[in-house]
């Protein structure tokens, strides 16, 4: 069981090091600082939900964690090792997988061709297809269809399948629910919940909190570039309205 303390406690405590940890991370776009000292840890096999209103700094936090952005201060630790400044491609090859906001599928390629992109970690194409179509059978029916002609939910399935088949150790999801019907979002999050039983750690960034709180072990609220609250999904759910309506600062 993962406690809220595990999400904010530093790795040099008594317990095992978190799989992913941000310590005092500050980040800026040009001269405008958007993260003002973020401390966040993702324990092994846990689903950590990072919630907050638009512009809170959630996607920037994910960009720093995945190596797409270098923090101006603070450090990123993966499996106990400081990896600040490591490239996103190196981190991805090591097993940190990011599903970006907006799905990131290649619209002019077929479903199969999109899945071929997931073979970069040495998993064969046959294995990739077997696993992807087992998780999302609907993709199997549309394997020869252009990704751009899939529905929003199917595109998100493809994006998630492409991430899952690489057998990542840490999966980072950015706004999985964006533009999707609630039923499809529930389905996708059920898949996310299932993969953690295999030891995969998940960091989910979400603006629409209801679905992710159903699978999260711990949730954190972010506002104005800071983590303002960490707790169980039930605790966090009660604070959400304050955050989104601007009562929390």
């Amino acid at each position: 069981m993962v406690d809220a303390e595990d999400v904010i406690a530093p790795a040099d405590g008594d317990g095992p090091a978190p799989v992913l940890e941000l310590r005092g991370v500050k980040a800026a776009y040009g001269k405008i600082e958007v993260l003002h000292g973020v401390d966040l840890a993702v324990p092994k096999g846990a689903v950590v939900a990072l919630l907050g209103a638009n512009g809170a700094g959630k996607t920037t936090t994910l960009a720093v964690a995945s190596g797409q952005m270098t923090p101006t201060e603070g450090d990123v630790f993966v499996a106990g090792r400081r990896v600040t400044g490591a490239t996103a491609s190196d981190l991805a090859a090591a097993g940190l997988c990011t599903v970006p906001e907006g799905r990131g599928v290649f619209r002019t390629l077929t479903v199969r061709e999109n899945l071929r992109m997931a073979t970069y970690r040495g998993v064969s194409m046959g294995d990739v297809e077997d696993r992807a179509f087992e998780i999302f059978p609907k993709l199997g029916e549309r394997r020869s269809q252009m990704a751009g002609t899939l529905s929003g939910g199917e595109q998100q399935m493809l994006s998630l399948a492409r991430a899952l088949v690489t057998e990542p150790a840490v999966l980072m999801l950015d706004e999985l629910s964006m533009g999707l019907a609630p039923m499809i979002v529930d389905d996708l999050y059920q898949q996310v919940g299932r993969i953690t039983s295999g030891g995969v750690s998940v960091l989910v960034v979400e603006q629409f909190a209801r679905s992710v709180l159903g699978v999260a072990d711990v949730a954190a609220i972010m506002a104005n570039g800071r983590i303002t609250s960490v707790g169980t999904p039930a605790e966090i759910e009660s604070e959400l309205s304050d955050t989104y309506l601007g009562a929390s600062s």
Binding site: A79, G80, R81, V83
Partner: protein, 165 residues
């Protein structure tokens, strides 16, 4: 499907993370500035040589002055700036190495002293120190015990004197 289990994935992940190339921004910047320093010195020297070569080709002082100013002075400036950078970052490396060496030697010396003290303790106790705690901790306790015993014995003697009187 690949036959990797979750444990394989986790262990493999930790191993791959250990192998990651993580740049040290400060070290990279220092190395770059050191190279820039060397380049500035070289460019400065070339400018001085060119200025000298051009100035030596004419006997007129009025024609030599522009070469001296644009080539010679600029060249000297670059050589000074480049030398400063080279000295600054070469010395930083040297001092870091020197400091690391001192720390290492200090640690080695401390280890030798502790080892020698251990041998002395074994020699003094006739090899029966295996049942005792480490020298540092035991020493503190012994001195404390000894002090308590001494105070007690002084107190007893004092009380005996009072009772006799």
């Amino acid at each position: 499907m690949t036959d990797s289990t979750p444990t394989d994935t986790t262990e493999g992940f930790a191993a791959r993370v250990q192998e990651l190339h993580v740049p040290e921004p400060k070290a990279d910047r220092e190395a770059l500035l050191l190279k820039v320093g060397v380049a500035l010195v070289v460019v400065g020297l070339v400018l001085i040589l060119v200025a000298w070569f051009q100035a030596s080709g004419t006997a007129s002082v009025a024609e030599q002055v522009p070469y001296a100013l644009s080539g010679g002075l600029l060249g000297i400036g670059l050589v000074i700036l480049g030398s400063a950078l080279v000295i600054r970052f070469s010395l930083a490396r040297l001092f870091r190495y020197w400091l690391a060496r001192i720390v290492y030697e200090h640690q080695t010396q401390t280890d030798r002293t502790v080892e020698a003290l251990g041998r002395i303790e074994v020699a003094l106790t006739g090899g029966s120190s295996s049942n005792r705690r480490p020298a540092a901790a035991a020493g503190t306790d012994h001195s404390s015990d000894h002090q308590t015993a001494s105070v007690d014995s002084v107190g007893a003697a004092h009380r005996a004197e009072h009772s006799e009187s």
